[in-house]
Symmetry: C2
Subunit: 252 residues, 2 copies
DNA sequence: CGGATGCTTCCGCTCAGTGGAAGAATCGGC
DNA sequence: GCCGATTCTTCCACTGAGCGGAAGCATCCG
């Protein structure tokens, strides 16, 4: 930046990212004044930078508002967090979905939370709260428990020190969850029973790469009382297939 | 930008977008010197801006290279080009894929080309050249023909004035293709027979929103000689479902 | 029509940004 | 291990891109 600023030290890059950061799930479309307010920038500054971002395709103009532009979508597709795992896993996930008609997830651990990389659902699948790019608690989701079971000790300790209740069935006692995590490591899969969302149960298994658990895949079903073995087997087969292909890729 | 520049008039925003533009499908990971070269920036400038982009999560550092960061992936998910159509269509597309096991596409017209918004393939689906975010010729793909059939006259004229051959079966005569487009508008679906890719045929139908064709969905199959009616019916049902839900959304 | 709201433009000022040069770090061949 | 090549990191005098309050314009709505 150059002179006459109200925020000395702020950079253009920082301002640009603040403008882009004004957009989120709840605010996918924004008028200029809202962008300026949410990015904490004076209106003419926001106006100038937004105009430039539009010219570069990073933002787009609609009738009344601004939205994230196609260029960012294209660039985002290149992010390894999205591309490698998702591309490798997608065909397997599609197969699981085709076989079970259930919602299928691919997720990674993001600090103390689950980050969903992919989600596939048909119209008759159980409604779930996850969406691609969203995060949920590790301890209350199937994929989250898998990732927690295989997380470093300090991460596990941090998560176990605070287990917020989501539904009346959410596990909030550290000892009880820790026993489950041991079981998960032993039997190779995790389950939840309405711990994240009423009416939704899940089964999940780990995905390995070069001997490390790098992701988890899971399905959401209305109940675990039927066909649990079939779902679990399908997940294992898919996880093994994904793991095999990931292992064949050069180290990251 | 400020003094001492080798490119007077260049802005920081433009340089940032040039840096991000250094990445593409063929170069998803790049060392600093390659980024600088591809973005046409001096090394120290690139180094400084890349460092800042990494701090903001727009780029990420791997062992040896830089990659697009998670923040851009998250932002890209918010782009309407990706979110509204894809989210509405995804469950229907999953259903088609589950029923047919074929590769399923969602695409829009992008000027004189097809832009693929979504693609679902199982491991036993016919190999296709498309990928999410990629563009292909309108005249040689099923979804492309649908979009071309419903495109404005000037667009159609522009496309028909140059029909590059992709395979020996690609239609390169404007008159012949135009007859097909009329047929497509009449019967409500399009087909291709190895016009884009040998061994791959496709069926596609339009998706409407508020009376306008805004997208196309299609499947890729090894041959049209079997079950063409079943695939076409499934596509129509899905397209109607998607169109109905799109029509229920507020005007964009 | 008039007030409220949202936006667009202006331009003197200035500090964030610049990049050649130098130095450091890493790599690979011998 | 040495040395040359390659890649990267740092420095800082210089300067022009960026700034934003104020003014003006556009639109909306009662």
């Amino acid at each position: 930046m150059a002179g006459n600023t109200s925020t000395p030290g702020a950079t253009v890059a920082g301002r640009i990212m603040a403008i882009l950061g004004a957009f989120d799930d709840h605010h996918p479309r924004l008028p200029l004044s809202d962008i300026a307010r949410r990015a904490d920038l004076p209106l003419p500054t926001a106006h100038r930078l937004v105009g430039e971002l539009v010219r570069h395709g990073a933002l787009a103009r609609t009738d009344d508002d601004y939205v994230i532009g196609r260029r960012l979508w294209e660039l985002g597709l290149l992010a390894p967090i999205a591309s490698t795992l998702r591309e490798t896993a997608a065909p397997f996930l599609h197969d699981i979905h085709a076989a079970t008609r259930a919602t299928v997830h691919l997720a990674v651990r993001d600090g103390h939370q689950v980050l969903y990389l992919e989600r596939m659902a048909g119209r008759d699948s159980v409604p779930v709260v996850s969406s691609v790019g969203s995060v949920l608690p590790l301890h209350a989701t199937g994929v989250g428990k898998v990732l927690l079971a295989h997380a470093p000790d300090d991460v596990r300790r941090g998560v176990l020190s605070s287990l917020p209740r989501v539904t009346p069935y959410t596990i909030t006692q550290p000892g009880r969850l820790n026993e489950q995590l041991k079981q998960i490591r032993r039997v190779g899969y995790a389950t939840t029973v309405e711990e994240m969302s009423l009416g939704a149960c899940s089964v999940a298994t780990p995905v390995h790469r070069h001997g490390q658990v790098v992701a988890a895949i899971g399905v959401v079903v209305p109940t675990l009382r039927r066909d649990r073995g079939g779902v679990t087997a399908a997940l294992h087969v898919a996880a093994q297939g994904i793991s095999r292909q990931l292992g064949a890729l050069p180290p990251a």
